[in-house]
């Protein structure tokens, strides 16, 4: 095909291109992380709440429709915190803003910190669920034995699919290591 002398050069070019592909794919593996976030926001995958709708103009309140919102609480593995919603369910009208709260208590004899993550079910409701204000993903400091209410402000968009009449908001409370 070619003179022997040219062979090393051609190999060098091929190897260079292929190595670039390999490194590119390594980077792509990491790029999947933000990409996944975007996909979750758009599709509500895994109950990921896109707060995008919080910034959109709020449609009219739909008084004719009632949706049940139920609140769940989990404590992440190993920890023994007391963590529960102050009310278990609420009947809400789409478009109206509501406030509720969760109660958490640090049972230990030392000050401790915890952080909450959340998930919304069903997944196709997640993008119509807005939380202008919530305690999630911020470090919550507790003194020894301290318990307190933590407020959540939320609303359900009137665009919520018609076949969804019950939406679950679940918080998981994870103790943070120092």
């Amino acid at each position: 095909m070619s003179e022997n002398r040219e062979q090393p050069k051609r190999h060098g070019r091929t190897v260079g291109k292929l190595l670039a592909v390999a490194f590119g794919m390594f980077a792509f593996g990491f790029a999947l992380v933000p990409l996944y976030q975007v996909i979750c926001e758009v599709t509500g995958l895994n109950g990921f709440v896109s707060n995008r709708i919080v910034n959109e103009p709020m449609p009219e309140v739909d008084k004719s429709r009632t949706v049940t919102v139920e609140f769940l609480a989990n404590v992440g593995g190993g920890a023994n915190w007391e963590f529960r919603p102050t009310v278990r369910t609420m009947e809400v009208h789409p478009g109206e803003i509501y406030t509720t709260s969760y109660y958490a208590r640090n049972p230990a004899g030392d000050a401790a910190a915890a952080q909450a993550s959340y998930s919304v079910a069903p997944g196709n409701a997640a993008r119509y669920f807005g939380k202008p204000d919530c305690f999630c993903f911020t470090r919550q400091e507790f003194d020894a034995g301290e318990g307190r209410d933590m407020p959540v402000t939320f609303f359900v968009s009137p665009n919520l699919p018609a076949n969804v009449n019950r939406v679950t908001l679940a918080y998981t409370f994870h103790e943070l290591a120092n």
Binding site: H11, L18, G24, V33
Partner: protein, 534 residues
């Protein structure tokens, strides 16, 4: 192997053992090393499978602790995938690609040496984790967090070993691509290449594209564990399901990395023993290419039960079902190649026909698994175990046996013992079905996978399966004996070896000279290559 005596034109292999094997840059020697290493690992992984089948022989816990059982299932998979099947195919690529395309050696001989010699070190580390406090990895070869983060010392070491394996595979794959693209003999156009070369070219691209993704995923696991990131931890805003997406983005193409070269092997063997050109050469090439493409967009069928949106599940279900079309084309092409041929049934042909039939069974159960709502029942049961063992054992491994019998006479210069070869085939093909077929029933009846103990209604089929497993394991010792016997002597093989064989490798002596095709052969249109009519 015994090439020295046949080498008239060029320097033979170095005489010192170390120079010959440790520092070798010869594609044939490196190919031999890969193949022997793979055979060794096949028995290491096989021994672990024997432990699994022994514990599952009857209900109750008789032999090993459940945690050790989990180490067995995990390491069995890692050893078989990264230690046996992949290195065996790389070994074949090293041996055969240069002599099938008329090249003097691989494009990058020194890197070739490195890609092999990384392997024994990586596996030494991986197997050494058994001796570490807490034992080896036990969270499944898929390494799902958060379970993966519960390991002890084994965790960082195993990840390091897998990184090494990935580097080795990527280097091997780059070498294959460079060889095929740059070193074909004049006149060897792409569409004249033997299908084994074609399938390896596509496989090599798959390896280069997805092994780095695996490296990324396990690096994220490592930083989650030791450097406080939370890619996969819900506590810090991450998501364990994301790991599964990234892993299977690697994992599904990985499945095809282990089966595409098998397609190439079978496409070489069936025409030889049917004495008839391969049917639909170009459609074979397109089918392999489209399977490779589809493999990138079907990954989530491994995780239908994680709770994806409806639209996502539908997309992955349809895309997965679509794979049946090019795969079907290949099976039909093989049958059409056999059709109205003049077949003989030497051991390579037996294994090739065994491959076509049993791989098809694996393919058909694959279609069933693709149906998402039914997969909600099948997922993570023995039905899945049966499916992927039909694809990987009676698929990939059978094709490797077929290849070994097909090319052993070329490699060693001696015919293997045909009688023993037939014994090996018939014992394997019967016992492998006794081993894996009942697992379909177990899965459908409700037995989950990766469990060391089970409810008593699963006893009978597990016993049958275990007996098949022990017998299949023992049958493989015949293969070792055949190989040793063939290396040491036997009837002299002709250059042509098989009456119907076509292709450049059969123009060389058996065994081929240590350095072959130092002047490129001339490819004529009537050379009888697979793409062209005879």
């Amino acid at each position: 192997m015994t090439a020295a005596t046949h080498d008239e034109h060029h320097a033979g292999p170095p005489s010192s053992f170390l120079d010959r094997w440790l520092f070798t840059t010869n594609h044939k020697d490196i190919g031999t090393l890969y193949l022997l290493f793979a055979l060794l690992m096949f028995f290491v992984g096989g021994a672990m499978a024997m432990v699994i089948r022994a514990e599952l022989f009857q209900p109750g816990m008789q032999l090993v602790d459940p945690y050790f059982f989990n180490q067995m299932t995990t390491m069995h998979a890692l050893v078989m995938i990264f230690g046996a099947v992949m290195p065996a195919f790389v070994g074949l690529a090293n041996w055969m690609i240069p002599i099938q395309i008329g090249a003097p050696d691989m494009a990058l001989p020194r890197m070739n040496n490195w890609s092999f010699w990384i392997l024994p070190f990586a596996f030494a580390i991986m197997l050494a984790t058994f001796l570490m406090p807490g034992g080896a990895l036990a969270g499944g070869w898929t390494m799902y967090p958060p379970l993966m983060l519960q390991h002890g010392m084994a965790f960082p070491f195993a990840i390091f070993a897998i990184h090494l394996l990935g580097i080795s595979s990527i280097m091997g794959a780059i070498n294959v691509v460079a060889t095929i693209l740059n070193m074909r003999a004049p006149g060897m156009t792409l569409m004249k290449m033997p299908l084994f070369v074609w399938t390896w070219l596509i496989t090599a691209y798959l390896i280069i594209a997805v092994m780095p993704v695996l490296a990324g995923a396990i690096t994220m696991l490592l930083t989650d564990q030791y450097f406080g990131t939370s890619f996969f931890s819900a506590a810090g805003g991450g998501d364990p399901v994301m790991y599964q997406h990234i892993f299977w983005f690697f994992g599904h193409p990985e499945v095809y990395i282990m089966i595409l070269p098998a397609f190439g092997i079978v496409s070489a063997i069936i025409p030889t023993f049917a004495r008839k050109p391969l049917f639909g050469y170009s459609s074979m090439v397109y089918a392999v290419a489209s399977i490779a493409f589809l493999s990138f967009i079907v990954w989530a069928h491994h995780m239908f039960t994680v709770g994806m949106p409806l639209a996502g599940e539908l997309f992955f279900m349809y895309a997965t079902m679509l794979i049946a079309v090019p795969t079907g084309v290949k099976v039909f092409n093989w049958i059409a190649t056999m059709w109205r041929g003049a077949m003989t049934f030497e051991t390579p042909m037996l294994f090739a026909i065994g491959f076509v039939i049993l791989f098809t069974i694996g393919g058909l159960s694959g279609i069933m698994l693709a149906i998402a709502p039914a997969d909600y029942q099948y997922h993570d049961t023995y039905f899945v175990v049966a499916h992927f063992h039909y694809v990987l054992v009676t698929g990939a491994v059978f094709s490797l046996f077929a290849a070994a019998y097909y090319w052993l006479p070329k490699w060693t210069g001696h015919m293997y013992d045909e009688r023993l070869g037939k014994w090996h085939f018939w014992l394997s093909v019967i016992t492998v079905n006794v081993l894996f077929f009942p697992q379909h029933f177990l899965g459908l009846a409700g037995m989950p996978r990766r469990i060391p103990d089970y409810a008593v209604q699963f006893t009978e089929f597990n016993m049958i399966s275990s007996i098949g497993g022990f017998a299949f394991g023992l049958s493989q010792l015949i293969f070792v004996w055949v190989v040793i016997k063939c290396i040491r002597g036997g009837e002299k093989a002709t250059d042509q070896v098989w009456e119907g064989a076509r292709g450049l490798e059969w123009t060389l002596s058996s065994p081929p000279p240590y350095h072959s095709f130092t002047t490129p052969p001339k490819i004529e249109s009537s050379a009888g290559l697979e793409g062209s009519p005879r």
